[in-house]
């Protein structure tokens, strides 16, 4: 499920002086957290009912989660991936009730 995209955009040419604002090796991590399958999601259910009452037919299994972005200094995408995985397990998601996946993009 983990979609890792590493696109180091460097169209400026190798000799360009690094800009202090864009750290070398900074990557953006996008974390998607959703209620775990089988765990009641009352927000999702309420929105599902609201969509039905608005006339949107055929809507089912609405899940409402959380989207987190963060910048991370890392040498490689593997390092970033390992670090992001630990962050999710230890703090960003509660593995008891939530599933998570993340994407990593070069800054």
């Amino acid at each position: 499920m983990r979609n890792v995209r590493a696109c180091f955009a460097s169209s400026e040419g190798a000799a360009s002086v690094p800009d202090a604002r864009t750290k070398v090796g900074a990557m953006q991590v996008k974390v998607y957290i959703t209620p775990r399958q089988g765990i009641l999601d009352p927000q999702g259910r309420t929105v599902e009912h609201a969509l039905a009452s608005l006339g949107f037919a055929g809507v089912s299994d609405v899940k409402i989660g959380r989207y987190i972005t963060l910048n991370l200094d890392a040498k490689t995408t593997d390092e970033a991936r390992a670090s992001a995985s630990k962050m999710c397990e230890q703090l960003l998601a509660n593995p008891n009730i939530e599933d998570f996946r993340f994407e990593i993009e070069g800054a």
């Binding site: 927000q43 703090l91 009730i97």
Partner: protein, 241 residues
Amino acid sequence: MRWGVIRFPGSLDDLDAIYGLRDVMGQDVQPLWHKDEQLHGVECVLLPGGFSYGDHLRCGAVARFSPIMKSVGKFAADGGLVIGICNGFQILTEAHLLPGALTRNRTLSFVCERVHLRVENAKTPFTCTSRPGDILTLPIKHGEGCYVAPESELLQMEERGQIILRYVDAKGDATDAANPNGSMRSIAGVCNDRFNVFGMMPHPEHAVEANLFGADGRKIFESIIAFQSVPEHRGQLRVEA
């Protein structure tokens, strides 16, 4: 008996807990600041209700990393008594000191009412002055009190007697209508598998005086005091389900 009441940024019910224990029940209470790593020789640690760290990310998820929680984890590992009420319960689940998790109420509404609770296991330090099946009436006030855990874990908890309190109606039946937040199996309070860490969503500290909406909350605190007054129990856990 010496109690420690932790104050996190955003704790609300620490003062009621201190009032109930110290002023009403004559206990020795040590307030504990969350950045303090010392527990100052307390015999029971109480994590109060409130909105620690503004409930950011998830309720209790950030408070779990407060410096004092390392000491609480060690204290619990050594058999020390820990009780978490409401947000304190949420913090204990996030800290993995208690199983399961607390999620949004199924109605999505904050609930603030008095509920009936049935004592399911009276052989714990937190319920030993009650009998199984006794009904306690206590206030609840929370938005995230829906207890969830994997079905396999719930089965194990039932077998071991870790489900301590259930939401019931006035007759003592755990009906769906009497379940205020959608908790699985109407669970209102649970223990760890060693029975020295306890979490409950209802508020015993708000019910310690008969003329102020009942005194059933005292039964929880009196149990802890009775348990701790037995010399063999001090510092070491002996009660089993």
